[in-house]
Amino acid sequence: MKLDVRRVGLGLAAPALAVVVALLLTSLILVAAGDPVVAVWQVLFKAPLPRQVVAIINEASVLYLSAVAVAIGFKMNLFNIGVDGQYRIASFMAAVFAGAHFLPGWLNIIVSLIVAMATGAIWAAIAGVLKVARGVSEVISTIMLNYIATYFVAYLLKGAAVKIEGSNATSTRILTEDSRVPGINLEGLLGTGREIYGLVFLSIAVGILFWFVLNKTRFGFDLRATGQSETAAVASGVNVKRMVVVSMVLSGAIAGLVGMPLLFGQDFAYGDTVQTGLGFAGISVALLGRNHPVGMAVSALVWGYLNQLSNGLQISAGVSDRLVLIIQGIIVLSVVIAYELVRRAGLRMEQRRVARELEARPAPVVEEVHP
């Protein structure tokens, strides 16, 4: 099938419009608050430094996993708010397992990834089973499970923690050198010693798998059908209850991977300083990227870019870096509106085109048969 240029153009127009609207609204907020508008944009629109480029890619690779986990649910009209809890509990389990070094080198890493996926899957399955067996909304149960995960992990961490000399942070046992995933050094290309997480390839693989399963397999068809119309899916032979559990399990398994690039590429342990909130950011990234594998990759990069460049706000513009959270929030809101506007514009364009083609043709014959 040939690529429809206009369609792609329209597809890109919506998120672009959303970003523009977000920038305008943010400017208004800055003006209202009496902050230096120009200085803020100068900071945020500076070309990122090489070290920032690496950081953006690293952050995006993590956010992308989170977004895919959320998108699996979205495709089925399931709102998995629990990615946040799922990835934290999974990261913890994987860190404990990997830190025990039962297995050598790469084998240890691979099995740890599986442990993470299994943990995330089980945690998410609780919500899935509650939904099909008891009709509990997954929104409620996953929010609750997030809280439980927070305190459960904190409790377990106390037991599993090893004391680190000269620091009062608690964390799991630190991975030995051979159980770490080596980073990718682009010194020659970018001119920075900072390395890209080796597990960036994991994110890419997950994205490809997501696209493939959803669009090319029977299972993906069933999943999308259920999301579009549950009644029609049932009539077509989909076992919707099983589908709910399976997609929660898959969503949880991918959520389990969210913390892995951090664990094996940067922190090498799970401690109380671990990054939180990635699950919620994933919801925004999935929304902006419209659950599309490529769209989410782009929006993950945008998110990473904004986060990284916001670091300079306090120093260079005297504005809190929290401003970026506002910008991101507005983007997500604008995106919903922008998609609708672009859809209508597309329809109008199409109608004008039909009208033009029609004028080239002779008018239909009208026979008045009056009694």
């Binding site: 090319k216 397999t217 068809f221 059908a225 077509s236 989909v238 076992n239 009208v366």
Partner: protein
């Protein structure tokens, strides 16, 4: 007269009542199609005005424009002599226009009362006053609407009546009914028409769309024919026959199903053995001791007023509901506990009564809809993978063979006209050569030409040994196709009839339970 009529108001000045509705030059385009092109329509006040035309001719589109659902690209709307611009249904309602859609717009999880008052809370509140008003309208027009049941629990026929009531509740003076009779059995149709005539004498105006030309001729005062998006004729029903009307619409003749020589064998294809189904809410039996055998090469028709258990019967056979007791056999195999997918894969085809809820993914392209229900069968899949190319080729074939009017197989199913959606579903189910076909209203909403084609196809498949359970509100269809007709009443098969000798009156009486006892013919 009126050679230089500027507006209908001027005509009124000349001593004539203004037209209730006057549409001029209405044009509406959708991606890839022109649904309406320069349409003119005059509807006199206090009349019943029928609009007829093929599937996809643009009837529903025109009515949606009149009801403010979609704006026209070009053209003007004049109501009672004043030109108006209707930007939303709310404005249309304010102008006294009400519409019942071809596909109902009721919220499943709300009660009838809640559905009726939704958006009209200001009229009679949401409590007892509203309930009383609903009861009043219901008795006045014999609509038999119970305000406090859940919409999800009732059948298509009841939903239709609720939609009509909803419109009357809002005080509409101009009623638009898009294929209101498609879901009704003949007695109900007659009842409805009685009420329409009553409305007419009270000065209301009714515009209705139908593919049943006999009905149109019996009730309409004026008829407008639409072909390929434009008005081709305005006729007086007294001057035309149904046949001429069909020719005006499609240029083809009016079909009537002819029973052929029996092809019934003694090989049971589908056996229902003492099926009981007890409802969740009440302990009342929805299905009560159903015993039925369908043989290879046999069409068994089920006649009945909507809501007497037909839908549930089909759902039990399809595995969408478990019977409380009893067994379902497909050939020799017990499928009582089997899932929908197993049953479909075993060769049961399914044409659902509600195509939007059970038959289509409205937001998915046509070719994906062709896979729906057959997403584990060739040519749609290769192992666990989708074979998009083969599925698209298959879709193109069905679109061609069944004359599904669409600009492309990549458009969404929701953008097809109702009749064309139905043709797609029938084509899909017949493509997989089912051993047993459960057909609920297989020709609902399709035009006369397509109806004949579908009938022929079902008969051909029967000759090849397919067994069919046919549920239909169209007695012509039931009598013409069936080898045996059963009447279903309050969940029981109350009588068996021979289609060769039974009269409409007899069937009608049995369907409403007017016959005493449960006598059997033959």
């Amino acid at each position: 007269m009126a050679t230089a009529v500027e507006s209908a108001a001027a005509a009124a000045g000349a001593g004539e009542e203004p037209l209730a509705v006057q549409l001029k030059g209405i044009t509406k385009r959708f991606p890839g199609v022109v649904a309406n092109s320069d349409i003119a329509l005059d509807v006199r006040k206090g009349t019943i005005h029928a609009i007829v035309g093929e599937n996809g001719a643009g009837k529903s589109t025109l009515m949606k424009i009149l009801y403010g659902v979609q704006p026209p690209d070009e053209g003007t709307i004049t109501i009672n002599g004043t030109q108006v611009e209707l930007k939303s249904p709310t404005e249309a309602i304010r102008a006294g226009i009400g519409m019942v859609f071809q596909h109902f717009m009721l919220a499943e999880n709300l009660t009838v009362l809640e559905n009726v008052v939704l958006g009209a809370e200001k009229l009679h509140g949401i409590g007892d006053a509203a309930r009383a008003k609903i009861r009043e309208i219901s008795t006045e027009y014999g609509l038999r609407v119970e305000p406090d049941v859940l919409v999800s629990e009732i059948g298509v026929g009841d939903r239709q009546r609720i939609e009509i009531l909803k419109v009357l509740y809002r005080g509409a003076k101009i009623l638009i009914l898009d294929e209101p009779t498609a879901v009704l059995v003949p007695q109900e149709v007659n009842e409805l028409f009685e009420h329409l005539r009553e409305l007419k004498t009270e000065g209301l105006t009714v515009i209705f769309i139908s593919h049943k030309l006999d009905e149109v001729l019996s009730v309409a005062d004026d008829i407008t024919v639409i072909r390929r998006g434009t008005t081709v004729a305005a006729v007086d029903p007294k001057d035309v026959t149904a046949r001429q009307l069909a020719e005006l619409m499609v240029g083809s003749e009016l079909p009537s199903p002819q029973t052929e020589e029996s092809t019934v064998t003694d090989e049971p294809r589908l056996t229902l053995d003492g099926i009981d189904l007890v409802g969740q809410a009440s302990a009342r039996k929805i299905l009560d001791g159903i015993d039925l055998v369908i043989h290879a090469g046999e069409i068994v028709g089920i006649a009945g007023v909507e809501g007497n258990g037909q839908a549930e019967l089909v759902e039990v056979v399809m595995g969408m509901r478990r019977p409380t007791s009893g067994r379902v056999l497909l050939g020799e195999t017990d499928i009582t506990e089997a899932g929908v997918r197993e049953i479909r894969e075993a060769g049961v085809g399914y044409i659902p009564e509600d195509r939007h809820r059970h038959g289509l993914l409205l937001e998915a392209p046509l070719w994906e809809n062709m896979m729906l229900g057959h997403q584990t069968e060739p040519p749609n899949v290769k192992g666990p993978l989708i074979d998009a190319r083969a599925a698209k080729a298959d879709t193109a074939r069905v679109v061609e063979q069944f004359d599904v009017r669409t600009p492309s197989i990549l458009v969404t199913a929701g953008s097809l006209s109702g009749g064309n959606q139905q043709k797609l579903i029938v084509g899909r189910e017949m493509s997989h050569a089912p051993r047993v076909l459960l057909a609920a209203h297989p020709t609902r909403g399709v035009d006369v030409g397509a109806q004949a084609a579908i009938w022929d196809l079902i008969k051909a498949a029967r000759r090849d040994g397919m067994g069919v359970l046919l549920i239909s509100a169209d007695l012509e269809e039931l009598v013409g196709l069936s080898d045996t007709i059963w009447v279903i009443l309050r969940g029981r098969l109350s009588g068996e009839f021979d289609p060769n000798v039974v009269t409409r009156e007899e069937l009608g009486a049995a369907m409403t339970g007017a016959t005493t006892g449960e006598e059997e013919q033959r």
